[in-house]
Amino acid sequence: MATLDAYGIEARLPSGFEGRIYRRVPVGGAQTYPVAQFTTFALPADTADFGGAYVDQMRPTDIFAVLFEFGPDSLGKALFARVGLPTRLTPADFSPYTLRRGTKGQGGAQVFFTQSRRPFTLYVVLGSYSQRLVLVPRVNDLLAGLTVRAPSPAGVP
């Protein structure tokens, strides 16, 4: 089982998944935070944080998931009131309208939460909304292997 571990995020990937955990280089004094992407398809090197146009090319059986961290100024905000990384989603959590890009046939889910005093959003896209009963268990296999640790004392997650 392949494992990703960086910036306080650890992912034990189920078979068939690939991914990366990165942090964009700050530009113009902006602060950046870690992003973790997981896919069942070939993840292009230049993929946007939430998949961008590559999400349109997903096969019906594909899954794209991203764990996106927000800055500490988001801590305590109502949007991040949910505590704890979601470890189990249901088919009812997905909708064809919860998509950043409205691609026909796909379904998405998005959850905002706080884990270890770090605010995140989890965004998941299914290649086919109609196959959510088959795909959601695979998403849950992925979520079961995710761990988020508290930020380091130096302030670098």
């Binding site: 392949a2 494992t3 990703l4 571990d5 960086a6 990937l13 078979s15 068939g16 998944f17 690939e18 991914g19 990366r20 955990i21 990165y22 942090r23 280089v25 896919t39 069942t40 398809f41 070939a42 993840l43 292009p44 090197a45 230049d46 096969r59 019906p60 059986t61 026909k104 046939g105 086919s128």
Partner: protein, 305 residues
Amino acid sequence: MVAVVVALALVVALLGVLVAGLLRSHADIIRALHSLGVGVGDPAGSAAPDHAGHRPPGPAPVDVRLSGPPLPAERSTAVHDLEGVTPAGDAIVVSTSSSPLTLVAFLSSGCVSCAPLWDDLGDPDRRRLLPAQARVVVVTKGPEWESPGAIAAKAPEGVPVVMSTASWSAYEVPGSPYFVLVDGRRRARVGEGAGRGLAEIADLIAQAAADAHPPAPAGDPSGATAAGAATAAATQSQATALGLNGAEREAHNDAVLRGAGILPGDPSLYPRRLEDVFASTAPWNQPDGRDDSASGLSAPGPADR
């Protein structure tokens, strides 16, 4: 007279020492052979009797038994996901089952032979020499052996670069540059070796494809039928990907088939044998390499390399 006798005695003594040495050497050889399981002269190693119970004339054959450690196995054909870090220090895992074909390029920053390959991989036009469905991933040794800065300076744009010494070990890479071609559906290596440029690598891939799928003999309809089946599978996948169903999907499939020259009544639409259906072409030759149809690659073996 006394001198002659003394000289002869010395000669005899010298010869005796030589014979003793030869006997000792012979005994050492016999002992070594015995420890290797080669029973020269061992009654247990004599020829087996025939049906009548008589042993054949002549010297008893030597029975060789392997009692030492086994010889190293052939190179493994197993595939492994590529797990490491990027030159920027981010964590990355590339799954070799994410694409129909993954071309893993094991390169180094310092090797002279790698220089043209780094350049070729950074040139989109040169990369087009490779099959469209082949995903290229560069793997260098990890940061403990390679300078991330040097690799970052050479990293081709749009190509994932994984720094992973473990992957070099897992794929038994003898040196750089070295290429491994992985069939993602079968999770198996279908070819590996060294090459000096992408053109040469592309030739090797094409050769591997040709070896896996020799052209059908003239008059054999199975080739055309297989092509039709592959096209049909691809159109089905395309229609599914487009979210088409019912009449829309049927119309789309008909249009794609017509575009491929397959008209109503075409014999390829009516396979007569099971092999006609499943003898599809290699994934990199299919119109849509991302479909879920079965790959027709042959089992890997030494000849594939």
